[in-house]
Each structure stands twice: as structure tokens, then as C-alpha cells.
């Protein structure tokens, strides 16, 4: 149904070039779907005017849920009636973003029937995003998604869809089972995920090692990052093989170790690691994955508070629990999530992320209220000022 009158000279230029083109994608969808065609027209106008043409989201949703669907309306409904309503459905992705083609095709079939045929694989939080549906089709679309086994993700002031790295499914660095933790946490907190009840959003990202391939330290209110407590495993045979292959162990590994914890004996061609000095940064393991492995005693460091600059600055997550074993059914982790979110729910202001609440009220108060014991791993250095509180029970 290519509309002869709808010309998109600016967007057409984005069909050129070697990288796959999203304009081609919109056009493919537009050939079969009026909503996608309307999007193309509205986007061309945005490109002409250098201005967005979407209005603030309104309240839309499906029965039984408070989140998972985001209202999106065009501010030019007369000009683009088919894009007047263009809501987003967030579909909770499987842990590690693994799919069978059967599952993906089911999603496509449902989306072809009800929506624009446009998707994001994936949104930055992790969900599979279905982009562009009318209000009156939402329920039927969700019902079919549910039948096919796809539940909604989070939106609004709720637990956002947890996501994790590929973990033990395909990575030798995984210090615990990230996929299982992600799935179990998602299942445990279905109510918090689907019904906005908190001061603001709460993100959990789960990374199997300090390389942090899901960027949890930068964007998760609760960052779960794999680490270990024992020694790095060394295979000296493989160390020799690296030497023989011409790999510069001294330059690429020893000299780059941030704690100078790696020693290399050029004569015996062996590596020695001072594991007490090592801070488990992953560098040597990343460089020599055949010879070096993460320790056997794996678990995770729990960090709290990361967020982007809005409102009062960006934070990276702070270490709260230096080490937690990650053994099913993950009771300790689940209890921890409840403890901190309950505290935040009690103390947080509207639209305040947990990191901002902790910053406003002070880490000592947060620790005191939640019963978490202070340990040196929480700080890069103790405070430099004498302005601290004493409580009545501590003085006479």
C-alpha cells in the first residue's frame, strides 16, 4: 500500500551506506502496515523540522498490570491518523537474550496481527520492544502473547525487567549462574515488576564477572557482579604455550596488572599471582584465557545506586555486600532486595532513585536502618572530616 503522496527524501538517504538501515526496516513494515507507514511520514517531518512529534505518554495498559505498556500519542493525529496511538509493549526477554526461531516467529506472528510490525531487539533495559499498537488492540495482543508464553516487562515506578550477561551459557568467566539468578529474581518479584508501587524505577543488572558486559555498575540500582574469593587458577603449560606463540606476557599482562600482583619467571616460563594483593580486575584472565581462570569459589559483589545524571548527578553503584554466595534458591539475595527496596520505599521521595535517597540521607543511616554491617570494602577511603553523628545509646 505504498502511498504515492508520501515522499521521504531525507529518510531515503539513510537507506544508503553499509550498516543495516532502520529506514529500510520501517519501509518493509510500511509496505504491509498503515501504522508503520504513518510513522515513516511523521519521522520524515521530524527530520525536516528537527523536532520530535510524540506527546507525553498517557495511561494505557492491560488488565491486571500497572506497567509493561507505555502510552505514546502523536501530536499530529490529524495529519497522521494511523500513528495517533502508537503504544509500546515491553515483552520480558528470556535471560541472556536466547531465543529459538520458533519463539521469535510466534512473537512476529502476534505482532503482525495486532501491531505495526516494528520492534526493538532490544530496548536498553533489556526487554523485547513491540513498537506501535492501538489502545483497543492491547488486551487481545497481550492475551495472545500470554498464550504463547510471553509476559510483560516493567515500566514506570516499578522493578524494571532484570537483565544479565550470557554467563555460564557461553562464557568461561562466569563466577555464578547469571541466567538462573536473573530468571529467579524476575519470577520472585513479579508483583513489583508489574505493579508500579515504588518512588521511582528500580533496575537490577546481573553480570557474571568484573568485565560487567551488561554495564550494571553504571545503570543498575542493584548491580550484581560476579567475583571470587580464592586464587586465580593457573595452567603453567598454557602459559608456556602463550610464550611460544610470541605473546608478550611481560608487556601485556605483568606491566598492566594494576596491583603489580603478577610475576613472570622468564626462565621457567611460569606465572605467579599474589592473590592477596590481586583485586580480581580480570585483566590477566582476559589477556590469557587459556592459561588463567577465575577462582573456584565464585559469588557476587552487590553494589547499589547507579543512575544517569537526571536529577542531581550520575552515580556509579557503591559496594554494599562485598561477597554473596549465589546458590539457588538465592534466598539471601531475594531477602536483600526486599530489605533495600523496603527501606527506599519508606524513605525515598517521589522520582528519587535509591542511590539519591542514600546520598540524601547518608550511607551510615542506610546501613543502620537495614542492618548491614560497615566494612572497609564499601569505601575507597574513610572520611576526612570529623562531622559524624553519635547516637544516644553510644554516649553517656
Amino acid at each position: 500500500m505504498a502511498n504515492e503522496e508520501q515522499k521521504t527524501p531525507l529518510l531515503d538517504q539513510l537507506e544508503e551506506g553499509r550498516w543495516p538501515s532502520f529506514v529500510k526496516e520501517i519501509k518493509k513494515a510500511a509496505a504491509k502496515n498503515k501504522k508503520a507507514e504513518a510513522l515513516l511520514g511523521q519521522l520524515e517531518l521530524s527530520y525536516t523540522e528537527k523536532k520530535v512529534h510524540w506527546k507525553h505518554g498517557g495511561i494505557v495498559g492491560v488488565k491486571g498490570y500497572g506497567g509493561g505498556v507505555i502510552g505514546r500519542y502523536s501530536d499530529l493525529p490529524e495529519q497522521f491518523p494511523d500513528a495517533a496511538e502508537f503504544h509500546t509493549i515491553r515483552v520480558n526477554q528470556p535471560a541472556g537474550w536466547f531465543y529459538t526461531t520458533e519463539a521469535l516467529r510466534k512473537l512476529c506472528d502476534i505482532w503482525e496481527k495486532y501491531g505495526s510490525g516494528l520492534t526493538n531487539f532490544h530496548g536498553t533495559t533489556g526487554d523485547a520492544i513491540l513498537l506501535g499498537i492501538d489502545t483497543d488492540k492491547l488486551q487481545a495482543c497481550f492475551d495472545e502473547l500470554a498464550e504463547a508464553g510471553f509476559d510483560l516487562g516493567g515500566s514506570g515506578s516499578d522493578l524494571r525487567t532484570p537483565s544479565c550477561c550470557v554467563g555460564p551459557a557461553r562464557c568461561e568467566f562466569a563466577c555464578f549462574d547469571t541466567l538462573d539468578v536473573c530468571h529467579e529474581i524476575t519470577m520472585e518479584f513479579q508483583n513489583e515488576l508489574h505493579r508500579p508501587m515504588w518512588p521511582y524505577k528500580f533496575k537490577i543488572k546481573i553480570a557474571g564477572c568484573p568485565n560487567d558486559c551488561v554495564a550494571s555498575i553504571a545503570r543498575a540500582d542493584l548491580s550484581v557482579i560476579g567475583t571470587w574469593r580464592d586464587a586465580i587458577r593457573v595452567d603453567q603449560e598454557e602459559v608456556r604455550a602463550y610464550v611460544e606463540s610470541g605473546f608478550d606476557i611481560q608487556g601485556m599482562v605483568v606491566d598492566k596488572c594494576p596491583k603489580k600482583a603478577v610475576k613472570f619467571n622468564a626462565e621457567t616460563r611460569e606465572i605467579f599471582i599474589d592473590n592477596e594483593t590481586c583485586t580480581r580486575c580480570m585483566h590477566c584472565i582476559n589477556e590469557m584465557p587459556k592459561a588463567l581462570r577465575v577462582g573456584k569459589e565464585g559469588g557476587a559483589t552487590l553494589l547499589i545506586g547507579a543512575k544517569a545524571p537526571i536529577v542531581k548527578s550520575a552515580f556509579m553503584s557503591w559496594v554494599i555486600i562485598p561477597f554473596m554466595e549465589m546458590k539457588p534458591p538465592y534466598t539471601e539475595l531475594k531477602d536483600f532486595v526486599r530489605t533495600i527496596t523496603d527501606w527506599w520505599d519508606e524513605n525515598g521521595k517521589t522520582r528519587e532513585r535509591i542511590g539519591e535517597t542514600i546520598y540524601r540521607l547518608g550511607m551510615p543511616k542506610f546501613l543502620r536502618d537495614t542492618g548491614i554491617k560497615p566494612v572497609p570494602q564499601m569505601v575507597t577511603a574513610p572520611r576526612a572530616n570529623p562531622y559524624y553523628f553519635w547516637y544516644p545509646e553510644e554516649v553517656k
Partner: protein, 352 residues
Amino acid sequence: MARTDFGPPHYSTLIPDIIKENYGKWLYHEQIRPGVLKHVSETGAELYTVRVGSPRLASIDFIREICEIADKYSKGHLRFTSRHNIEFLLDDQELVEPLLQELAQRGLPVGGTGHSVSNIVHTQGWVHCHSSATDASGLVKSLMDGLYDYFVENKLPNMVRIAVACCLNMCGAVHCSDIAIVGIHRKPPRIDHEKVSKVSEIPSVIQSCPTGAIKPNPKLKSVDVNPDKCMYCGNCYTVCPAMPIADPENDGVAIFVGGKVSNARTAPKFSRLAIPYLPNNPPRWTETVEAVKHLLEVYAKNALPGERYGEWIERIGWERFFKLTGLPFTEKHIDDFIFAPTTFRTTTQFNW
């Protein structure tokens, strides 16, 4: 009513057999060529991953196309990465080459592993967001066209993670990227006094402002914005639709550099301001693409093997970063927000 709260499909029903059999048993991996990884298990099993760039905004036709490929080469299984790439997972080395040929034929780029620019994480932009100061999809498409060789080859000292956020809300980990591109506004919001109290709660609007620039205007049952205090974050607009801030003439992008999330060698870092403003210039954002290319090339030429962008700058110092890139250092680069003093130099150790 349909059932609710049943959660996502269980990953164990979606992973290929070779992964099921070797789950948690992977011993090591190597990059066979850019975009192709080989993982070897304790059991001796070998898994080949072919990583493919995607436009992220995909039609169901595209999803069906990659399903077709997965059926043919990876037994009907595939996965996506945290940077919107697609990965085909092969248990048969013989199929790698035919798959690469087919992907080339279909125009799908293979890369994004090792010392490369991986796919750009980005947000919705003009395509689907109400608060965007720039488009994301078009900017990213233009950037990836310009940086294509850096995706398919390993020509950099280390990986370079680029991210685009179309406004300061920064959905995604933009603020800790090697190169971060952020949509910005440069003028205070315009206030529709008639509508403010009808579409929002005035105390929430006042509270939304990080600099205290918003004051109540009881006469008009509205608010006023002190233009001297406003730094155009747009947070008030998110709370109050009657305070639009989008401005075709003045919106554009800023570029930050040197951030990372990995703990390898050095601690995770925030990206820091390199270029305060470049205009929105759709559809190709030529100035931005050129600037990013330039930032990438200066790094590629000067950094030591293995150094991430921020590690390189830390070694040579920001003084030399500005010298080497030729970028002007301005008052915009000196922080005056909440944690500004933590960025002021308190030592005589610096470079000329």
C-alpha cells in the same frame, strides 16, 4: 482474563543443545577472526559464535530473515547481545564459512568482537520518544556507516564502546562509554501558563528542577523559570507537558569521552565532556560523524596497545588530549554542577 505474572520463557527451553551440554563448563575462548568467536568446553566441545550488527529497530520481516538463517546454520537458535548485535551459535565449524558468505550476501555485517567498535547502544529519539533532543536511530546509522571498518576489523588499541542518548535522561549506560553522544537542549523550557496546573502538580514540577530554577507563580496558578539558573535538563518537561523544551534551532548533541564500565585494569569511569555542542543536522549528522571519527582516529594513533580510551587520556593527561585532538577547551568543560570540586586539580603535577 488471561493469566498474569507468569514471567519470561525459561532460558533452558531456548538455548541450543551444545550450550545445555556445556553449561558452566566453558574453558576458554578465542577470536578466530573479527566477529567470530570459538568457545571450547571442558568436554572438548567447540561452539562457534558469529556476531552480526543489527539496525536494532527491526521489522518482523528482519526477525523472520534472521530466523531463516538460524534454522539453516544454528539449529534454530540465536541470541542477542547487550549491544543489540545478533549472535548465531554454531556447533559445526564447517558451517561457519557458508554462514559468513550468506551474511555477506544479505548485507549483514559481521564484527563487533575484540578491539573493535561494537554496535552502538542507543535510545528511541524522534522515532518514538517524547523528550528527545535529537534522533538516535538516524544518528547511529550515520555513525555506523562512518565507522563500519572499525566494526568489521580489529584496528583499535582496545574495544571502543559508543552509546547515544537522545536526551539527558540517558536511557542506557551512555554516561560510562568510551564515546558518549548525548542529545542536549540549550534554552529554558517555554511555559504554557494556562495548562501547567491542569496537566501537572506544581510542587512536583518545582521539585523536579535540580538547580532550583523553578518558582511558583501563584497569580497565574503556574510556575516561572529563572533563566540564569536553568541548565536545560528537561526534567521539568517530563513532569509537566506544559513546559516544552524541544527547540529545532538550538537542540543538538554533546560528545563525552573516556568512560567505561569494565573493572579490567582501571576502575569504571564516567565519560567526560569533549565537545559541548554540535548541531542537529539530519539526516546524516555530518559534523557529529566527523567528530566521532576524529576522536577515534586520534585515540587509535596515540594509545598504547590494550589501553581503553579513558586509560589513554589518564596516561597522557587531559591537557594533551585537547592538544592532540585540537579541540578547544572552554568554560563549558569546567564543571559547576553538584560534584564540581572533585574535578578541580589539587596538585602541581600536570603537563604543559
